[in-house]
């Protein structure tokens, strides 16, 4: 199929970017979205033009590296990551607008690549548990109720891709934050640092310049891992409990 692509081009972090239009022929519906961009880049290379920079790594939907705002939707029209989106979701003759994640805490480095180290710093500020390393403990020493284990596991599927921030009208990272808080908060290992964790992680989130949540739900609709909105409720509840503890 033949496509018209509107792509954000920006030489570097300081440069002024702009949308550029490319006509692309010979796209197969079996190509993934990233393979379609590879196909475009091959042609740009042949013409001696600078290829379009975009993030990708595992290309199997588990690393959280790929991003892209496709026709106004984070990761495009399907509930999956961009690498698992296939060109059969589009039609011959379609115009596709491709932009980087837009949030000031995620500065654009080049074209479609953004710096998401704000997420790393949020994790660094409290998204961990402190335990002594050594031999693995006896597995049955620490019973975890089935519902808690299930919930912790479900929200631990968050790959930190940043689609929640990209889709949020407020540029908030509350879904990401809520997933991490819920994941560790449901497990016994997460309890000792539970209340300081939520305060520190929320403080880091705010410090990075992310917006506040207004419970609109665009984040969960865009999440390739379908993290539910109730993690934000859990986040709020934990913060309120921390407040009661005077933290």
């Amino acid at each position: 199929m033949k496509l018209t692509l509107n792509i954000w081009r920006q030489a570097n972090q300081q440069a002024q970017g702009a949308m550029r239009t490319y006509e692309l022929d010979g796209v197969s519906e079996d190509m993934s979205f990233l393979e379609m961009l590879d196909h475009l880049n091959e042609q740009l290379n042949e013409k001696g033009e600078d290829p379009v920079a975009f993030d990708h790594d595992c290309r199997e939907g588990i690393c959280g590296m790929c991003s892209l705002m496709i026709n106004g939707q984070a990761h495009g029209p399907e509930v999956t990551t961009t690498c698992q989106l296939h060109m059969r979701s589009f039609k011959d003759g379609d115009t596709i607008t491709i932009e980087p994640w837009r949030a000031d805490p995620f500065p654009v480095l080049k074209d479609l690549v953004v710096d998401r180290s704000a997420f790393d710093r949020i994790i660094q500020s409290g998204g961990y548990i402190s335990v002594n390393t050594g031999s693995a403990p006896e597995a049955n020493n620490l019973p975890v109720a089935k519902e808690k284990a299930d919930r912790a596991f479900d929200v631990a599927t968050c790959i930190g891709c940043g689609a929640c921030v990209a889709a949020c009208p407020n540029g908030s990272a509350s879904l990401f934050l809520g997933a991490k808080i819920t994941h560790l908060g449901e497990l016994p290992q997460g309890q000792p640092e539970r209340w300081t964790r939520v305060v520190d992680m929320v403080a880091q989130h705010d410090h990075e310049g992310f917006g506040g949540c207004t419970n609109i739900g665009e984040c969960t609709a865009a999440c390739p891992k379908e993290i539910p909105l109730d993690v934000i409720s859990q986040l709020n509840k934990d913060l309120r409990t921390a407040m009661r503890h005077g933290l």
């Binding site: 949030a103 305060v199 917006g211 419970n215 609109i216 609709a221 909105l229 109730d230 934990d238 309120r240």
Partner: protein
Amino acid sequence: MATPTLIKGGRSTRSTIALKLLMAVTGLVFIGYVLLHMYGNLKVFAGQDAFDTYAHHLRTFGEPMLPHKGLLWIIRVVLLLSIIGHAYAAFTLWARANSARTSKYVVKKAVAATLSSKMMRWGGVALLLFVVFHLLHLTTHTINVNGDPESPYDRVVSSFQPEQWWVAAIYLLAMVALAMHLRHGVWSACQTLGLTNNARSRMRANSVAVFVAVLVAGGFALVPLSILFGIVD
């Protein structure tokens, strides 16, 4: 702009979530208030005596333990503090959201947002302007003075006569804005207060939000509509 530093000594009370809690709690104060206000308004259907007596008793409520209009002033102070808190949280978070995305998308598709959620901020500003108009109209009598000043019933009924249909139109439009504000606000408050930790409670919170929105806005709208169509005169 991202800053590659780790913040130390974060406080829960300084967070954006604390602002949201302030918004939720003050919002609940308003919900309690509009329910009481609506109950009083519906007395219009019980006739002039019932309505005027109710209005009079609001001023003498609690006497002699409270001074004249004591309860009214307590309510006014609580409402004033609540509106200051609510608006402060709203405008702070609004400004924050704007600075969190200074370069806008060329194309952005909303998938899950309800119309009510999109109207929250400007709808809130519209409601604030309406409250000012409403106070100038029926509390201070600055706007559209008519009817017997001694009878609240007479003032209400004469205000919503078809000859000056625009007064009723403003009130009815404000009730549409209020319904939308409550639709998203009640749901959002439940979420902020941490009451919606699973899919079922989320659905329940959404249903309660729609119910409260229809109940309050519908209950208020009945009065100007009934007067406009001559059911109450």
